[in-house]
């Protein structure tokens, strides 16, 4: 594949969308990676020989997935409105969350993951607590469990220091612009459980159901989800790419993955491939960390600040 001309880069050769190639120079495509590997690291005179391309492809994609989980730092961000059922369906390429925030009044307010559960399945039971079944022998289930129902209705109490916390019940305060303010207990909560000392709404992720369940104060609010994906781009091989800083690592990863599962490869060769892979990952992570002297300087300027 040839390098892009300036016109192709900025205007996508006049095609739509015009921004398709912006920033593309940072990345090397999956096709290039597999081609380069087959060309440079596999063959009659190489350690890797007589291996099918689909194996190389598999290891390349696995390597890219692993990098996406932590090393890449390529966070995807999605803003969605939380419905009245307090659910936020996870994005189709979601693998794990990084940060979930409430976006309110122009400010991002990071939320805490509830240390308790805020959702549950439930079975219908009779007065003697016997489980009820339908004629096919399947368990009957209510639409919502009690914990879900109370959360959605807004009557569930919270152990977090937000308006649903029972500690605020009965106290006088000021209600202004959708928030309660009190004249006491500010900065003087001895024995405070810092883990739950947060005013913002809370959430809990139901991974199997693929939703984030929020506390009742998130109804109708905007939620910003920062998450990581696995870089597989919905299975579109043409869209999968790797940051160039990790290119050499990916080759080393593929080589090691093949050699360590291949018969009759001497252990010292496997170890050599493993060391190469590990050191290249470290190098790439250092490069990705973007430690710039100017940024350090900015932080260091605060070193003489007086603490009152």
């Amino acid at each position: 594949m040839a390098y892009l001309s300036e016109y192709q880069y900025y205007e996508n050769d006049g095609n739509s969308p015009s921004n398709a190639n912006w920033g593309s120079y940072q990345y090397v495509s999956l096709k290039d990676i597999v081609n380069n590997f087959m060309l440079m690291y596999a063959g009659n005179h190489s350690l890797v020989n007589n291996e099918e391309r689909f194996k190389v492809l598999f290891h390349a994609k696995r390597g890219i997935q692993e990098l996406n989980y932590d090393a890449f730092k390529e966070i995807k961000i999605l803003e969605l409105n939380v419905s009245n059922t307090l659910k936020y369906v996870l994005p189709s390429d979601y693998v794990n969350w990084v940060r979930i925030s409430l976006y309110q009044n122009g400010v991002l307010r990071p939320m805490s993951e509830n240390i308790q559960t805020n959702w549950s399945d439930a079975y219908l039971q009779d007065n003697d607590a016997n489980i009820l079944f339908d004629i096919n022998g399947n368990i009957l289930k209510p639409e919502f469990s009690n914990i879900d129902y109370e959360r959605i209705k807004g009557t569930k109490k919270s152990i977090y220091l937000n308006p649903n916390n029972p500690q605020f019940d009965g106290f006088e305060g000021y209600y202004y612009d959708g928030e309660w303010y009190f004249d006491f207990q500010v900065g003087a909560r001895f024995g405070l459980n810092t883990e739950t000392a947060n005013f913002n709404p809370t959430f809990k992720i139901d991974k199997k159901s693929g939703v984030i369940n929020f506390s009742s104060d998130m109804a109708g609010e905007l939620c910003i989800l920062e998450y990581v994906s696995d870089g597989m781009e919905g299975g579109d091989d043409t869209q999968i790419s790797v940051n160039k800083l990790f290119e050499e690592y990916i080759y080393a990863y593929i080589e090691y993955s093949i050699l360590h599962s291949k018969l009759n490869v001497q252990e010292y060769i496997v170890r050599r491939a493993q060391k190469k892979k590990s050191s290249l990952l470290r190098n790439a992570k250092i490069r990705m960390s973007n430690i710039h002297p100017s940024r350090l300087l900015m932080n260091m300027r605060g070193r003489d600040k007086w603490l009152k």
Binding site: L30, K31, V34, N44, H45, E52, R53, F54, L57, F58, K61, R62, M232, G235, D237, T238
Partner: protein, 312 residues
């Protein structure tokens, strides 16, 4: 070369009046001998690769592997495979590509169809279709043009709005054509029958236009993904078998057939001249058996063994 080989063989056979082989017998033995040598190229190539890996081989004039590669490449052909149905394409054969293949070396997939239609005009080395805007379709010089009516192909030399100038004169009025990008090519990988189902159901390695695969079930190649389904999408580079050598002659003169190289069915050996001694020795072995002259066979065998040992 064929006449020289025959003369040498006859010269050896005639020593001490051992015997004589007819032109038709010679042609049969010559075919066997050439096939023998042809197949041996691949074993020799592999042997020399192993020698290279053992650091027991040189470069430059000492690069024996290169010589074998060149010998094999004499039989290399590249042709678009004729489409059968859905994702089925015919393997190279006398009825589709005019030759039999020994092995399929590379199968390329053209993934970007730029234009297709029917010609509604004619011109020498031109494809004319006033209903298609070739420039707007993105057709560029170097793209591949295919005649779907008679399964021929050519390359775009220059592009005008409704006319493509192409390398060969392959179109007449009303021919169906398609134009593929000459640069969007993916190489398809052969996978075994036992793997294809697993591969198709794998999320990570399922065949795609970027990484296509194929399976083989004579006389077809089955392409995956199945969207690869038209003539022009699959081009194959393969090694064909050598053509059968044929020593042709005109009327007998003095009891001897006289060699005629201009006969329509004349076919010389296709292997390099450097293999002439081996050819002679191999034909001698067959001929020796034919005329029940063990000495000729043994002579051929011993010299061939000697030659093989020297080339190691």
């Amino acid at each position: 070369m064929i006449n020289s080989v025959r003369n040498t063989v006859l010269s050896i056979l005639n020593k001490n009046n051992y015997g004589y082989i007819s032109p038709s017998d010679f042609n049969l033995f010559a075919k066997q001998a050439q096939l023998d040598i042809f197949e041996d190229y691949f074993y020799q190539y592999n042997y020399n690769i192993n020698k290279e890996n053992a650091r027991a081989s040189g470069t430059g004039y000492a690069n024996i592997t290169k010589g074998y590669e060149e010998s094999i490449n004499i039989f290399s052909e590249s042709n678009f495979l004729v489409h059968s149905s859905i994702n089925k394409f015919f393997t190279p054969s006398p009825s589709t590509t005019n030759d039999n293949y020994y092995l399929l070396n590379r199968v390329d997939i053209y993934t970007n169809l730029r234009a297709n239609g029917f010609t509604n005009g004619t011109g020498t080395n031109e494809l004319i279709d006033t209903l298609t805007d070739f420039i707007a379709s993105g057709v560029k010089a170097g793209d591949i043009v295919l005649n779907l009516t008679d399964n021929t192909s050519s390359e775009v030399v220059s592009v005008a709005t409704n006319v493509l100038t192409i390398d060969d004169d392959i179109f007449v009025l009303g021919d169906e054509f398609s134009v593929y990008s000459g640069s969007d090519i993916s190489e398809a990988e052969r996978v075994s029958q036992s793997k294809i189902s697993l591969l198709n159901s794998s999320l990570l390695t399922a065949p795609s236009n970027t990484f296509p695969v194929y399976t083989q079930e004579e006389p077809y190649l089955y392409m995956f993904p199945k969207t690869i389904n038209s003539y022009g999408a699959v081009k194959c580079q393969y090694i064909r078998y050598p053509k059968d050598p044929k020593w042709t002659y005109v009327a007998l003169s003095g009891g001897e057939p006289s060699f005629n190289a201009s006969s329509p069915d004349y076919q010389d050996f296709e292997i390099p001249i450097s293999d002439e001694p081996t050819l002679v020795l191999k034909i001698l072995q067959y001929a020796g058996m034919s005329i029940r002259e063990v000495a000729a066979t043994q002579f051929g065998q011993s010299l061939e063994n000697l030659e093989t040992q020297k080339e190691r």
